[in-house]
Subunit: 426 residues, 2 copies
Amino acid sequence: MIPYELIRKKQGGAAHTPDEIRWLLEAFTSGELPDYQMAAWLMAVYFQGMDPGERQVLVEAMIDSGRRLDFSHLDGYVADKHSTGGVGDKVSLVLGPLVAACGVYVPMISGRGLGHTGGTLDKLDAIPGFRTSLDLETFERQVAEVGICIMGQTDDICPADKQLYALRDVTATVGSVPLIAGSIMSKKIAEGIQGLVLDVKWGSGAFMGSLAEARELARVLVETGAAFGVDTVAHISDMNQPLGRSAGVWCEVREAVAALEGDGPADLVELSLFLASEMLRLAGRDDPQREVQDALASGRAREKLDEMVAAQGGDPAALADSRLYRPAVTVALQAPRSGYLSAVDTYRCGMALITAGAGRRAKSDLLDPSAGFDLNVRLGDQVVAGDEIGRCYGSRDDRVQAAAQELLETLAFSDEPVELAPLIVE
Amino acid sequence: MIPYELIRKKQGGAAHTPDEIRWLLEAFTSGELPDYQMAAWLMAVYFQGMDPGERQVLVEAMIDSGRRLDFSHLDGYVADKHSTGGVGDKVSLVLGPLVAACGVYVPMISGRGLGHTGGTLDKLDAIPGFRTSLDLETFERQVAEVGICIMGQTDDICPADKQLYALRDVTATVGSVPLIAGSIMSKKIAEGIQGLVLDVKWGSGAFMGSLAEARELARVLVETGAAFGVDTVAHISDMNQPLGRSAGVWCEVREAVAALEGDGPADLVELSLFLASEMLRLAGRDDPQREVQDALASGRAREKLDEMVAAQGGDPAALADSRLYRPAVTVALQAPRSGYLSAVDTYRCGMALITAGAGRRAKSDLLDPSAGFDLNVRLGDQVVAGDEIGRCYGSRDDRVQAAAQELLETLAFSDEPVELAPLIVE
């Protein structure tokens, strides 16, 4: 294969043969194909796309670069959920224990936050003692014994994707539907799951800014899952404002725990219960809604969280300790004018989290677990100038002050009442 | 500047600020900007283009990366010609001495052949003793004393272009109009010329396959020249068949000498005289056509070639030595059928030259100066099956045999007479 010819081919809009895609991936991961040629090819893919056949081979090649787990020996259904990322999204921490408490196995390989989006792993890492780096054998054993394990990507799972993602991240080729789909689906399929529920976000805090883009990504993800024999459903949910009341690191853990204790914000609870019941529906359960309601109301889901935390070396008591990560600095956010909250630049809310210390600009950045913000108003709410509409907090005064200022700038108010979009679009 | 943001900007189709383009070039040449980010940016430029302002800054930045020559102390007009490349194009070897013989100074920095196109430098290198690597002082002195000097690009002239071209060459981003224009014009403007005549080729052996593409490139080249105060005219000429009768290395030198001795093929002579007279027209001469005719007929142009060869260390007697580089192997080409020559895949003629040994696949390939081919038929000519329509030659039997076969496959014949396109389109 001649790399130049393959770049030319994609540049001209043609489809690659399966052998060409496999060769590109293998030559790239082995170092035979230099980064600059892969970067040119990725940008050509960004502009020219990939057809269904190409996308399937890409996913296959990424899975084949590592191990594919196998849970077929278990006595129950095996499923996972994936969200395309946003601000304040702590659904996994609520939904995982809920679904596991209902007897569906949840082998969840999760990620860290980067840029404006948060990551489940960062929140779990803040639980004292909790281990998110496990070998695959430990992971598999815990899934079988506890029913759920959440850990980070290992070198055994889709190493080609890991290497490719690092290059996409610095060449502005992350936002390409076939590449996003390849990256998400290869990792999920390698988990050895039978069912997958996708939460595709759209709006000001999502990678897909428009509903049309979100629908296109959802379509491609479902198609890819089906091609690999995984029952896949995708729903589209609203990310035009942060999910829940709190966004940050430890404050999100606290909010997830509150939700599991029956005291969560309405949007977080609604989305978590809905996606959890979808996983049960894929598992063939007769009355999925009732089952997740019962698991929540009975406290079994809350217990499952403690069980998972303990199994991964964490201290369950920390989840209830209100003194842990108490922020040194808190700045109140006051409504700059009277009116209805009409828009939130949620992407910039995520960037304000970086300023506060709860987000990463570069992979090597360390997080301040005490940092974050609460927003007590939601789109459509009416406020009076001077009302306390939220708080920003963390350990460094200058950063929290700056983040509070940035946050206020993300909010727009109008004199007229605002029409609200549904949380779960479809 | 954040490279990621600059790639995103071009990817989205926006125009860069002058500072952004300068930073990209400087960071790339200094090694601060890694190849893979530059490759992604180049591919984004390929798809999104550059506006006139961006193109001008690109050329400026490439010139500023090295030295810009200054011939303003000379007592005459300073001009050059550039062709976008093709097969059998030895116009520079005819036109350069012609124009210099008419008293216009010609500081010509030329290139080597790569891929299907030949390069003037390779032909000059074949002249025993001839030096094409000179320092800029020697170059400037010879232009002043002899009126013409042809040498290769040095590290002093547009080093940024040299480095960028190497990356474009392996990332399939050579064929982008703003990048082609930037590369050509920066080097020509850095020569310190007052006038520039461009020969933009179109057709089966040109980089621009269609007339529309050739016109677009011509337009951008002229606009760029004007922006830098260089009198620039662009003509479009036909490259749907090799120029002249011979293509290769030494055979092209011989054909150029023949043309200067009044015995050249009609197309080569027509194009050389036309472009030479255009240079004289830019210099403000009253009757350019007559002047170049006189320089040719009087033998002064032929003498100027000897003068230049001698000044650059070459042996003028070699030009007349018919035993030099006599090919060890010659294979006759026979018309495979009767009919009219209706099409020549000139790109593949150039690739056949690589097979014969007269072209380069990689920059490091060595050339066989005796290799090449003669084609005695031109588009529209009628042949009878079995007619000897040309010859292929070189030093290695296997390569010449294979090249001859490839050459025959580039020719298409029809039963009907063929409509001919003009050599000089506009």
